[in-house]
């Protein structure tokens, strides 16, 4: 039967075999190069900025980048960013946590299969659409409620940003809650708890690290969000904490500056990168914090 041997080429571990991993490695390094590129882009031009502007000035409240005698106090941008992100969290945190509790502890699995995707649709909507929504629908709506509200203000984009990050809070918190093992839940029911008591007294405390991490991640998203604030919060560089007033975030500053005075070489131009660097550090820190919380406080049941 087997006396017909076909001539088979004897293959060595060919050159291809050795070259492929090198090619793949080179391509895989593109992501690292990208990171380095981001850091270099930001740091090189930001350092030109910091060579001319003192740190003390940067933490001032006077932001007049285009004046003949410009000043670069970034505090208005920082507060603008923090205020809008806070508003967003004030919307997303309660809504997110309650909807997560509802999904994970109250709803039947059938309903959950219908409701969860609806919430996830919110996550797939581009931010420009939210921006349009904030400007075109939410601001006019809010103006009916608060007549003193400006056409550009921090409130409306803050709220809409809250809706945008809501799915992050909801689905990550829900994941954290559903990963609390069922026997813990049963233990609580066995002691005569109502659903609410099980959810708030046992499940939420058990899942708290996951929930906090979800919040932090959502904050990071809010800080980095651009289009909603660019469209709906105006570009006021005044230092204010009045959410009825226009404000500017770090991201919106970058957009404003690049769509306006993009001529390179001026301090104004380099200020763009200084703000970019600040934004990068802000989001990086919050992301790392979220990771740290999940790692450190992950519970082994």
């Amino acid at each position: 039967m087997t006396d017909t041997k076909y001539t088979m080429k004897l293959r060595k571990s060919s050159k291809v075999e050795n070259i492929v991993p090198i090619i793949l490695f080179v391509i895989a390094s593109i992501s690292v190069v990208t990171s380095i590129g981001i850091v270099l882009t930001l740091v090189v031009d930001a350092s030109r900025f910091f060579a001319e502007v003192s740190i003390a000035e940067v933490f001032g409240t006077k932001l007049e980048p285009l004046k003949k005698d410009p000043s670069f106090g970034f505090l208005p941008l920082i507060t603008g960013t923090i205020v809008t992100s806070l508003i967003a969290m004030l919307v997303a945190a309660p809504l997110g946590i309650t909807s997560a509790i509802f999904l994970s502890e109250f709803m039947s699995s059938k309903m959950r299969r219908i409701i969860k995707p609806i919430i996830e649709v919110l996550a797939g909507i581009p931010t420009i659409v939210y921006g349009f929504f904030a400007y075109n629908t939410v601001t006019p709506l809010l103006m009916n409620i608060f007549p003193e509200l400006g056409a550009k203000n921090a409130l409306s984009p803050g709220i809409v940003m809250g809706i945008m990050i809501l799915p992050i809070v909801t689905s990550l918190s829900e994941d954290a809650m559903s990963s609390v093992p069922d026997y813990i839940r049963k233990g609580a029911y066995g002691l005569g708890s109502t659903k609410l008591e099980v959810a708030t007294k046992v499940i939420v405390p058990s899942a708290i690290s996951g929930i906090v991490a979800a919040f932090v991640l959502a904050i990071s998203r809010a800080i980095g969000e651009t289009m909603i604030v660019t469209i709906a919060s105006g570009s006021s560089k005044q230092f204010t904490l009045d959410i009825m007033q226009p404000m500017q975030t770090m991201t919106a500053y970058i957009v404003e500056f690049t769509s306006g005075d993009a001529g390179s070489g001026t301090i104004g131009y380099y200020s763009l990168y200084a703000v970019g660097l600040m934004l990068f550090v802000f989001t990086m820190l919050t992301n790392l914090l979220a990771k740290y919380i999940t790692k450190k406080y992950r519970r082994e049941y």
Binding site: I27, S99, V129, E225, I231, S259
Partner: protein
């Protein structure tokens, strides 16, 4: 049982007033009524949250669709851009988005899949692996506007690509790269190891095994991830704005070096320009409808691919 232990227990027991009831059943019963009411109230409030979320989604879609009615027609889809709202069409805008994707799709697929293969098949352990993985998870958290700055500086200025389709596409590619890498990694991980072993057992080399066995099995997962990444890229605005896309480009894009406009950009400019001409809001809404339809189609196709793939396993 040891007797001494038992006596000790008896003594302890007396100290503990076992017959004393701490919980007053009647009071508990009253309290229970309250607890149950609170439970019901909370439950209805929670369900209101969901209703509210659905309401907001509905409001968003309703307002957009309402504004687009009367504006979204065949002429709008196939006409050329104009500063006159009643004449404006978005053919070149759709084309711009499409050409962007023509850049993003292959670039992210090649880099993303290659990176995933490298991580999953070649560098499973060690510092290089953890360096690249860490790096990718960090990149995923970088705000898109920062990618815009990177694109502006590197592609726009250093490479001299300006605000062309190529510059925009490359910028968006880097932006969604982490998504593609992670989903490709998942897909490659999901290929059972016994298939790899079978291939090696027949005398196949590593690369042959990856090419002929691993990748074909992972393709549906990779495609799903890539489509989802595309659907993120197609809606991104900030990086393109930062690249400095001119406000008015009436020309139909023809090459990848042309300046262009894309769906989200056009929505942005029209939204800004509602002060010039109110009807721009309707144009923006109509363009949003188109963008959402495109996203819906992309996501559905991803789901279909995923389901088909799951059924086969």
């Amino acid at each position: 049982m040891d007797n001494s232990v038992n006596t000790l227990r008896d003594q302890e027991r007396e100290n503990l007033h076992l017959d004393r009831k701490y919980i007053d059943l009647n009071k508990s019963q009253e309290r229970l009524k309250k607890r149950k009411i609170i439970n019901i109230v909370a439950q209805s409030m929670f369900s209101l949250t969901i209703v509210f979320i659905i309401f907001v989604l509905g409001l968003l879609l309703f307002n957009i669709i309402r504004s687009s009615i009367g504006w979204l027609d065949w002429e709008f889809l196939t006409g050329r851009l104009s500063i006159r709202p009643e004449k404006a069409g978005i053919k070149s805008v759709i084309m711009g988005s499409f050409m962007l994707m023509v850049v993003v799709a292959p670039v992210t697929m090649i880099i993303g899949v290659a990176t995933a293969i490298f991580l999953e098949e070649y560098a499973k352990k060690g510092t290089i692996h953890s360096l690249i993985s860490l790096n990718i998870s960090n990149l995923a958290g970088v705000p898109s506007v920062i990618f815009g700055l990177l694109g502006l500086t590197v592609f726009g200025r250093i490479f001299g690509l300006g605000s062309s389709i190529l510059a925009g596409g490359l910028t968006l590619s880097l932006l969604v790269l982490p998504n593609v890498v992670v989903s490709s990694q998942e897909a490659i991980k999901a290929v059972p190891n016994f298939l790899r072993e079978a291939s090696y057992g027949l005398g196949a080399t590593k690369w042959t095994t990856i090419r002929k066995i691993v990748l074909p099995s992972a393709i549906p997962g990779i495609m799903t991830g890539a489509i989802l990444a595309l659907s993120r890229a197609i809606g991104e605005t900030a990086p393109l704005v930062v690249l400095g896309i001119p406000t008015l480009i009436l020309k139909f894009p023809e090459s990848f070096m042309d300046d262009f406009t894309a769906l989200p950009i056009q929505i942005y400019y029209w939204t800004l320009d509602t002060v010039l001409t109110k009807e721009y809001a309707n144009l923006a809404a109509a363009t949003i409808v188109i963008l959402l339809v495109v996203l819906f189609l992309l996501n559905s196709s991803a789901i279909i691919i995923r389901n088909k793939f799951q059924r086969r396993n």
